[in-house]
Structure formats: C-alpha cells, structure tokens
C-alpha cells in the first residue's frame, strides 16, 4: 500500500488537543495490490487504522465488451463473454447462449442441456476453489491454495478433454453444443466427484474450526439481507445473509429442474458465513454433477437454429446463477445478424458496490478479507 501525502485537514482544530493529531488519512490501495485480485483501486479514508470511508476506482480493464457486441454477429460475440469472468468462462457462455436462444425462440435439446449443466457446475466448483485458495492466502493461510489448485486442475483437465481449452473455453454454441461429449466424460466426472468429497473435508478441516480463521472472518464485513437486496448484491453474498434464494431454483434454466439440491444459507452475513455458504455450494454442485451423469439423454446436441442467426426484432432478458451471483444478459434485436444492443449484468460489478458499506469501521487488514469474500473478478467488473 502506498501512502499518499493526501492528508485531510478538516480536523485541524482538534489537532492541538492530542499528542499525535486526529487527522484523517487517505491512503490508496491498489491498483497493483495483490489482494485486490486484479486492478482494483480503493481509496480509503482512515481514522487511525479504522476505515471511515472509501471509494472504488475501477475501469482499468475496460475493453468495451458491450460495444464490441454491437459490431459482431451473435456467434462471433460468444467467445468474448468468456473473457469477462475469466475464471468462470463456462457460466458466462451458458448465460449468453441461453439468452440468444430465448431471443430466437429456440431451445437447446435435452442432451445439450444436461451436458451444459454438468460443465457449468464443474465450473462453479473451479471458480469457488480459486476463490477459496486466494481468499485464504490473502488472510494468511498459505496451504489451502495448493490443495484448491490441485482440484481445480482436475476440473480444467475435463474441460480440456472436452473442448481443448482450459480457461476461456467457449464450450457451448447458440442452440446447443459444438462438440459431442467425449467417451469417458461421465467416468472422469464421476472420479472427480468421488475424490472431491474428501477433498472438501480437507479444506474444511484446515479452516472451519481454525481459531485464526474464525478470528479473521467472524463478524467481519457484515451485510444484512435488507442491505443486500437494496444494493443488488446476489449469489453467495445474498445467501450468506440468510435469503434462501437461488436462480437455479427460482427460475430454473438448463436442466436444473431435474436435480435435487439444497440452497445453503448463512445467518449473520459475515465473511465466515460466506465462506461456509461457498463450501456447501461446492458440495451441492458435486451432487448435481453426480445426478446428471447418471442419466445423460441420448439425441442431438444442437437445435436447428441455422447458420445465420437473425432473431425476430424484440428484446429479451435472461439471467443465470453464476458462481458470483446473478449474471444477466439483456439483448435487443433489430432483426439483423448483429445484436442491436447487448447489456451484461455483471454480478461482480454490482456486488462490489457493497464494499463501502462492508468495510466501514473495520481495520485496513480486514479490507483485504472483505475484498476477498466478495469474490470479484475485475475482468467482469470493468468489461
């Protein structure tokens, strides 16, 4: 952290009364700070070591994704969405493909929907694993990172075998899937899921009852459910505050209506609750994968949508439960081969808005924990 010579002198009158002065100090966290997970800059106004105000400065990774969309065809734009939340590319792709399918009044065939569900849940696990590893690292626990990376690697290997790419996968196509599932996909997923149960227990053993972990996360970054909803915060942040709501249940998409799973919720809405919610979400994702591989329907993997997509004029909004929260696409068609407007509702951007409320009154060291617990990806915040 670089200290700026930007001291606020509004308390100058009180200064003479105390030995060291009571000035508020403005310091600058980021944009190159490792715990900001990218290029986020937070201006912190401090009273001693307590945060009394903050302002986020974002936009360092702004690439004008929505503008690019207006100048590409529907299919050409699909790989771009992988580059927003680049640790959950499969989820981004699912949201976009389903939104365009709705716009076309088409639907992916059942086989495609089930395979999409499996890959998207694996992606949720991978995204949560990366979050857990780096979040623990930020707080000072080095070990979980290695374990998390080990399991994430297994997921990425499945992606690689499926479509050749590990990170920006472009796994789905508008109307279904580009690739048929490879021969042993079910076996690979099953093996991963079987191992993964004990692996989650390992992270849990390392952290859940750990008094240092509890000390650093309990009652840190509190956000109650009313504030969550008012600020638009979604995903694990919302659920940790006690709202039992998940788009996969509320408005099922892909093949989620076929599977049984629980929505984990927290009670206090602090950093520890968000940790517990995400750990449990990984368990639930694992269960969804296990149910899905049991019965992958046969049949085509692509709906007949045609090579040139010309959706009827009009508009559609479709959102999915991404690993970070509500990931929405609002697409306006004018009947041509290019979208007239694509608006992406990024969960990270809107969750980040809650940061100011969460860090007030906390120490600077807690800011690191709270940025971590929001699970933001700056590629998506800035688009």
């Amino acid at each position: 952290m670089k200290i700026l010579a930007d001291t606020v002198h509004e308390n100058a009158a009180q200064k003479t009364d105390t030995l060291f002065g009571a000035d508020e100090l403005v310091i600058n966290m980021g944009p190159q700070h490792p715990s900001t997970h990218g290029v986020l800059r937070v201006k912190l106004k401090l009273d001693g070591e307590r945060v009394v105000g903050s302002e986020c400065v974002i936009g360092y990774l702004h690439r004008g994704v929505e503008k690019i969309a207006e100048n590409r065809t529907y299919q050409q734009f699909a790989p771009y969405v992988d580059r927003m939340d680049y640790v959950a590319a499969v989820s981004n792709g699912l949201g976009y493909c389903e939104a365009v399918e709705k716009l076309l009044v088409a639907e992916a065939p059942p086989r495609a929907r089930v395979i999409r569900t499996i890959l998207t849940e694996l992606q949720r696990i991978a995204s949560h694993l990366l979050w857990l590893g780096t979040h623990a690292l930020d707080i000072g626990a080095l070990t979980p990172l290695f374990y998390c990376m080990r399991e994430r690697e297994e997921v990425l290997k499945i992606f690689e075998k499926y479509c050749g790419a590990r990170l920006t996968t472009h796994a789905f196509r508008i109307g279904g899937l580009q690739y048929e599932a490879y021969d042993n996909l079910e076996k690979d997923v099953e093996r991963f899921c079987k191992d993964f149960e004990s692996r989650i227990q390992q992270y849990s053993d390392l952290l859940t009852g750990n008094s240092i972990w509890i000390g650093r996360t309990r009652n840190v970054g509190l956000l109650n459910s009313a504030d969550c909803i008012a600020l638009g915060a979604s995903g694990p942040v919302l659920r940790a505050s006690g709202v039992k709501w998940d788009l996969r249940k509320a408005m099922p998409y892909a093949a989620y209506d076929q599977y049984k799973f629980e929505i984990p919720v927290g009670t206090r809405g602090d950093t520890y609750d968000r940790y517990m919610v995400r750990i449990e979400e990984m368990r639930q994702s694992r269960l969804i994968c296990l149910q899905a591989i049991e019965n992958i329907p046969a049949g085509p993997i692509m709906a007949r949508v045609g090579k040139v997509l010309k959706p009827p004029p009009g508009e559609v909004y479709h959102s999915i439960e991404g690993p970070k929260g509500i990931l929405g696409y609002y697409i306006v068609s004018d009947g041509s081969i290019q979208p007239y407007r694509v608006r992406i509702r990024p969960p990270s951007f809107i969750n980040l808005q809650a940061l100011d409320k969460m860090i007030r009154g906390h120490l600077v060291t807690d800011v690191v924990a709270i940025i971590g617990t929001l699970d933001i990806v700056l590629g998506e915040v800035d688009r």
Binding site: K102, L104, G232, R304, K310, P313, V316, G328, Y330
Partner: protein, 210 residues
C-alpha cells in the same frame, strides 16, 4: 448498426399504434428456430393485459404509455415524468424489491432518442418486470438511488457510456472511463474505432492507443 432504420418500426412507446404490425415481419425472419415452434410461429410481441398492468394503469393513468409482452416477458413503457413515483410504487406496493439491472439503449433516429431499461425482480412473487422509459436527449430523469441504492453505480455507468444525466444523483461521475474522457462510447454515433485521441496522447504518451 446499419439497421437503425428499424427503430421506428419496433413497438417503442412513442407510437403504440404500430406495435401490432411488428410481429408479422419477424415471423418471416424466424424459420431457423426450433422445428416445434416453427410449425406455428406465435408472435413474439403482444400487448400485455393482465392484473399487473391494469393495476399500474389504474394508479398512473397516462404515466403508463404502453404495456406489452415480448417472449413472455412483461414490459411496461412509462413516462419519465412519473419515473420516481412509479419506482416507489413498484418497490413498496408491487414488491419489486430488487433492481436487477438498469441500462439504456440508443435509438438515434427516434424522436425520443434513448430508452432507459430497468429490470425489476420480486422475491415475494418470483416475477420479473421490465420498465422502459423513453427519453429525449435533453431530458434529465430523476435518480432511482433513493428507491434502490443499487442504482448508484448503474446510473453512473449509464452516464459514462450514454451521457444521460440523472437529476439528484449523489455522485454522478464517470465510472469505467477516465474522468476527463470526451464522448460516450455506447451511443450509436460513436464509432467502434473512435477514441479520445487527445486523452490517449496526453496520458499514455502514444498516438493510437492500439
């Protein structure tokens, strides 16, 4: 981009009379959709007339310019003058407690150039509603921050990328682009290769920014 001529044809609020004519050409362009649906191409946009739209019309009368349904999603087109009251009513009476998204669309050839688009969600009823607010270039809509604090950054983003200023916003400044940047990139007359070359030269020390 070339197809801005479509703007008056789409059933935007200013001409509610044409809304019925739109689905016909759309059906002709739709054959590559799924075979089951293609057999009986239902119109994608139909007028919305349900309890919800009736309640809104009752409360706001001429404030609700039009109500329609596009691909089974409810849309209310509302006047900018009563935006704040309609927002309050939506949150308090209709329980649309989540402002899921707030954005804009540019229609340069239309009389009212912009559409503000708010996606509302109700946890109580598990329903969605879309509010569309047609907006002239000179008009300043009131901010929705007092109703949904989530609108804060979303309105800043609309201001940044479309140049729409919100009346009463607590901190209306650019959010994604640098503060000194000239121009609003998501307007249709802002070319994809266009940029603020003066800013790039001064701050990055390069000519093109590429």
């Amino acid at each position: 981009m070339a197809d801005e001529s479509k703007a008056p044809k789409s059933p935007e609020s200013s001409q509610p009379g044409v809304s019925g004519s739109s689905p016909a050409p759309s059906a002709a362009g739709a054959p590559p959709s799924s075979p089951a649906k293609a057999a009986a191409p239902a119109p994608v946009q139909v007028p919305l007339d349900n309890d919800l739209s009736r309640r809104y019309r009752e409360h706001f009368g001429a404030g609700i310019l039009d109500a329609l349904e596009d691909r089974k999603q409810s849309i209310l087109i509302v006047g900018v003058a009563q935006l704040l009251e309609i927002a309050r009513y939506s949150r308090d009476e209709e329980k649309f407690d989540l402002l899921e998204d707030y954005t804009a669309v540019d229609w340069p050839r239309r009389e009212k150039r912009f559409d503000l688009v708010a996606q509302l969600y109700s946890f109580t009823h598990n329903t969605r509603l879309r509010l569309k607010i047609p907006l002239g270039v000179e008009e300043r809509p009131s901010t929705l921050v007092p109703v949904w604090p989530a609108a804060n950054w979303l309105e800043r983003e609309i201001f940044d990328l479309f140049g729409i200023t919100f009346h009463g916003h607590p901190n209306l400044k650019r959010i994604l682009l640098p503060d000194e940047w000239q121009g609003h990139p998501l307007r249709k007359d802002y070319d994809i290769l266009q940029q603020d070359t003066a800013w790039v030269r001064e701050n990055l020390g390069i000519e093109s920014g590429q």
